[in-house]
Structure formats: C-alpha cells, structure tokens
C-alpha cells in the first residue's frame, strides 16, 4: 500500500467517521443523562433526510432554508419522542425504556414506509458539494471538506454548550447524580429536553450529509448507521462527547482500511463495528475516553 493510496483511504475513512461521530454524540449525551439507549436515534437521520428532501424537491425551498428546517424539525421530534414515550416511564426499570425505544424506532420506520413508501428517493446534491480537490495523487471530494468543516464546527459548538453554559453544566451534573441536582432546583425535564434537542439536531445534520454522500433516502436507511454510531459511542466511552466523536472516527477508519487492505473482506464490512465492540467490551468496557463502569 503506497502513501497516496493510504492518504486517499484516510480521506474516505474520516468522512464516514465524521458522520458516525455526529450520530454517536447524540447517543452518548442521552445515555449520559438518562442511562437510556435511544434506539430511535438512528431513525432521526432518516427523518431529517426526508424533511430535507421534501423541502428541496416538493416545496422548492433554497438549500439553507430546507436544511435549517430539517434540523429544527428533527430536534423538535427528538423532544416530542422523549416527552411522549420516555418521560412517562422514567421511574420504571431501564429495560422497559429500552423496549419502548425499540418500539419508537420501528414506529418511525414503518410510519415512513406507510406514508411515503419504500422506494428509495434520490437526494439532490447541491452544486457546491460536487466535484473534488486534487492534491498530488489524492483527490478530496468537496463533500468531504464540507463534512469535516461542518462536523468540527458542530463539535466545537456542542463542547462549548456542554462545558461553558449553565444548561450544559446542568446536563453534566444530571449525568452524575440526578437526585441531588433536582434538590438544587434544576428543572430536570427542561435539561433532558435540551439534551434530546441537541442530540437530534446533530443527528439531523449528520442525516443531511449522509444522504448527500449516499443519496438514497428510504425508511430503513437509519438502522445500520444508528447501530454503528452506538458502537462508536461505546468505543469512545459512553457519556463523553469527544470520546463519541473519536469513536466515530476510529470506526470509520477501521471499516475503510479493512476493505482497502483486504478487498475480499468487503462483505464483512458491516460486521467490523460489532467485532470492534465485542473486543472493546471484553478488554476495556469503559471505552477509550470513558470513566464510569457500565452497570
């Protein structure tokens, strides 16, 4: 494997990795606060892709408006899912919440199937993301540049919100000790809603970029990325934002490089994530950046 080939694969791997990372942050934040695997999180990627698609193709909205709308509506949906499905059972055993989350995920997928239909819709690619930049032997797709930049900006915003604002402080406190935080007069439900909104918005941004990269929008498109993003969150240490982003990168690179080194293994690409997860849970259950032990 020569250098330019390796660099080329690096570009591809990082692009996919950024998208996994964006999704993983949402999983990680919700898990950090509620100890709930939000199974429906991956499907938010699908919802946002559909909203973006309809905004552009049916309502003829300009790109930025359509994307902003998709992100805002998906964030709202995230809040609604929490209020409707998770809030009523916050006090019951965690497995019940997990079952409900699986139900919500199937509901979203099948509602999309029933109302929109199963035939994949081709997502229109805007002019400014097509083409690629060639440096030496390595060609960097313009889309990849956008994905890096958008991911880094969103990651920075997210970190700033969690580390520097009052509500971010409340989030971090909630993830440590919910009872005490409530005694301090923090409105728990507001913080949880905010967590869902933030995570869903990141998933929505990821969803739009995902459908630019793989322009087939269909009801079940969020399942596999969702599962892999969860693996990425575990990999990085669930509850940690930078860990989730890093986990996403590692997963993306691992998937791309395994296929690049051993082309005949390309069929096993989807199994890499789970293999990595099993290894990491066996050797270092708290993930790379994690602090807590899963109970």
């Amino acid at each position: 494997m020569d250098l330019s080939f390796a660099l080329q694969q690096l570009v591809y791997g990082l692009t996919v990795g950024c998208l996994y990372g964006l999704l993983a942050i949402g999983y990680s934040m919700v898990y950090g606060v509620l100890r709930l695997i939000n199974f429906a999180h991956g499907d938010l990627l699908m919802v946002s892709a559909y909203i973006g698609f309809f905004g552009i193709v049916i309502f003829n909205l300009p790109w930025p408006v359509s994307f902003a709308g998709a992100i805002a509506l998906t964030a709202l949906l995230g809040i609604l899912i929490d209020r409707g499905a998770y809030k009523p059972i916050r006090k019951s055993p965690r497995i019940n919440a997990l079952i409900t989350a699986i139900g919500v995920s199937f509901l979203l997928e099948n509602l999309a199937l029933v109302t929109i239909g199963g035939r994949p819709k081709s997502f229109p690619t805007p002019q400014f993301v097509s083409g690629s930049i060639v440096i030496g032997d390595v060609s960097i797709p313009t889309l990849s540049v956008w994905v890096f930049v958008v991911t880094l900006v969103l990651l920075a915003i997210c970190m700033a919100v969690v580390k520097r604002t009052r509500i971010g402080m409340a989030m971090r406190a909630l993830s440590r000790d919910m009872e005490t935080v409530m005694l301090m007069g923090v409105d728990k439900d507001r913080v949880i809603s905010f967590t869902f909104a933030l995570g869903s918005a990141l998933a929505a941004a990821g969803g739009i970029m995902w459908s630019m990269k793989y322009p087939a929008v269909e009801p079940f498109m969020g399942v596999v990325p969702g599962l892999k993003a969860f693996v990425a969150a575990v990999l990085g240490g669930i509850g940690s934002i930078s860990g989730a982003a890093m986990g996403g990168m590692i997963l993306g690179l691992a998937e791309v490089f395994i296929v690049a080194v051993q082309p005949e293994w390309s069929g096993y690409r989807d199994a890499v994530a789970f293999f990595l997860m099993i290894v990491i849970l066996l050797t270092r259950p708290t993930g790379i950046m994690g602090e807590r032990l899963p109970d």
Binding site: R94, I95, T100, F106, N110, V114, V231, F274, I278, L282
Partner: protein, 349 residues
C-alpha cells in the same frame, strides 16, 4: 391428590388438543393449517425467548441469530447431495457437508445441539456485560450472523440462500415440538435451576452470595433457550422451504419481543397466549396491506401498516400496561378451577 388431579387434567387437555389437530388436519384448508403451524412455531420461539429474557432477566436481542443457525443447520443436513450440487452454483459446498444427508428428525436434533453450542460460545463475551449493553452485544451478534450467512458461500450459499427444501414440517411436527418445548420449559422453571434463574434476575449479587454461579446459570438458560430456538428454526426452514439470510433480520426478534412483552415478561403462559394472539392477529390484519374494493372505493393496501400497529401496541403496553396479559403469574389448574367455581357461584346468585 391435587397432583393426580392436575396430571389427569393435563393429559385430558392434551387429548383435546390432539383431537382438534386430527380434526383440523383432515378438514381445514391449506391456509388455515399453515397459520396453525406458524402459531406452534411461534409458541416454541416465544416460550424459549421468554426463558432468557423474562425468567432469567437477561435482555438478549439475538434470537434471530439462533433461528438462523438452526434453520441453516437443519436445512444443510436434510438437503440431498444432488440438490446441493444444483444449488451451489457460485462456489461448491464444503466437502463433508456436501455429501451428508440425514432424516428430518436427526437434522432437528443436530440443529438444536449446534445452536446450543453456538450459544455457549457466545455466552462468554455476551455475559461479560449486563442490562442494555447486553442487549446491544446480542443484537450485534444477530447482525454478525447475517453477514456471515451472506458471505460464507461454501456453507450457506450466500445471499442466494438454500432452496428446494422438502416440506417435512407438518401439523404434528410443529405441535409436537411445541408441546415438548413447553413441557421442558415449565419443568425447568419449576426446578431449582429455574429458581436460581429468577434469583439472578432479581439480584445477581445476592444470588451469588447464596452460592449460585450466576455466569453458569445464565449460560445454561441461554443454551437451553437456544436449543429450542434452533429446533424451531429447523421447523420454520422446512415449512417455508426456502431460506436466505434476509429472512432472519432484527424484525424477527422484534416480533418475538412484542409477543413476550404483551404476554407478560417472565410468564410462560403469557408467552403462549400472546404468541397465539399475535400470530393469528398478524394474519387477520393482513387485509390492511392488501388491495381491496370497499363499497366501490379502490383501496390499494398499505404495506407496513401491521408493523405500525404492532409498534404502537408495544409502546402502549410499555406505557400503560407494563405487566402484559399475565404479569409474572402462570396458569395452574388450581387457579383455573377456582376461577370457574367463582363464575358458577356468581351465576347461581
């Protein structure tokens, strides 16, 4: 005395089931018989899935993996060498497998044993973690098995799948295995092993303090449940006669999860009732998805409608009726007779 009475009543109700099946076999149409067989297979699956999720309290999401292993193992062992030669067009089948062909009963037994062995191997990584991590790891295994089935061309024929299986599965096979599974599971749950599983479910640390080897008991429950899921997979394969990796997706696990949640996590009786309800109901609701002409209006049918309904039911059960139909209680003749007595005395007054 009560023990004798219960045994007689059980034998008697089995006799009623037997007579009903004899009647059904000669009088019911092909479609109804198919539904009856599906019900039996789903009871087998749900009861054994409930053992690990409800009784032992280990929330596994991987029964589709066991089902796939069982279905493939049994199918590989019943296919005739000529049929294998014809099916495996891209890559020839691995040598010893390509010439072996055994009777159906033996293939089911092998399927069960192989699946149980797979479960024992899986138990090591899976039971290192608990709770929702366990759910995700077992789900991961489900996905991995699908990828494996798609890629090991010389064993599973990849995405082409295995075709032309002889339809060995009939009413007697499916209901016979079903009754056998329920019998074994009930005996297990009422034994000291069953009580150990419940102890682990309630409090693993306390159970260990009482001298229960939690890992071993969980592995045992996992393997026991996998054995019957593997056998059920074999039955299913020889009922639909064509299997491919896309058959054993997470959708299957989701259906089983709905069944055991609606029946009441931890109740074998509940799993049986819910398996009947959901399998039969799923067929009855099929009209939603098929085109029909209603009072002159053309209704195109909406595929996916049933799954929407099932997911809503699942969410509603979790939100408002968490204990399901049976909670954790079981059917007993004692309770049943008492219930009838109550009804009768209420009618007299």
């Amino acid at each position: 005395m009560a023990l004798y009475r219960d045994r007689i009543l059980t034998v008697f109700s089995l006799f009623i089931l037997f007579s009903f099946l004899t009647y059904a076999d000669s009088n019911f149409g092909h479609y109804t018989l198919r539904i009856l067989q599906n019900i039996a297979i789903f009871i087998t699956l749900a009861v054994s899935y409930n053992l690990i999720n409800g009784v032992a309290g280990q929330f596994s999401l991987g029964p589709n993996a066991f089902l796939a292993v069982g279905a493939y193992t049994s199918a590989i062992f019943t296919l005739s060498p000529e049929e294998k030669l014809r099916s495996f067009i891209i890559e020839p089948m691995l040598w010893p497998l390509s010439v072996i062909s055994v009777p159906f009963a033996a293939s089911l037994l092998i399927a069960g044993i192989v699946t149980a062995l797979v479960a024992i191997l899986m138990a090591m990584p899976v039971f290192r973690v608990r709770g929702d991590y366990l759910a995700i790891v077992s789900l991961g295994f489900g996905e991995v098995f699908q990828v494996l089935a798609n890629n090991s061309m010389s064993i599973t024929n990849g995405s082409l799948g295995l075709k032309g299986l002889y339809p060995y599965t009939n009413l007697w096979w499916s209901w016979g295995i079903c009754v056998f599974t329920v019998f074994c599971t009930v005996r297990l749950v009422n034994s000291s092993y069953g009580r150990a599983m419940k102890a682990v479910r309630e409090d693993e640390t306390a159970a260990e303090a009482m001298g229960i080897n939690a890992f071993r008991i969980k592995t045992f429950a996992f393997a026991f449940s996998a054995f019957f899921q593997g056998v059920a997979g074999g039955l299913l394969a020889h009922l639909i006669t064509t299997i491919s990796p896309s058959l054993f997706t997470f959708m299957f696990t989701f259906n089983l999860l709905i069944i055991i949640v609606i029946g009441g996590l931890g109740s074998t009786t509940g799993s049986i009732i819910a398996a009947i309800l959901i399998t039969w109901g799923g067929e009855a609701l099929r009209f939603f998805e098929e085109p029909a002409n209603l009072f002159g209006f053309q209704y195109d049918g909406v595929p996916g409608m049933r799954m929407v309904l099932f997911s809503v039911i699942l969410i509603l059960v979790m939100l408002f009726a968490r204990s399901g139909i049976m909670g954790r209680s079981e059917f007993t003749w004692e309770g049943f007779l008492g219930w009838i007595k109550n009804k009768l005395s209420a009618m007299k007054v």
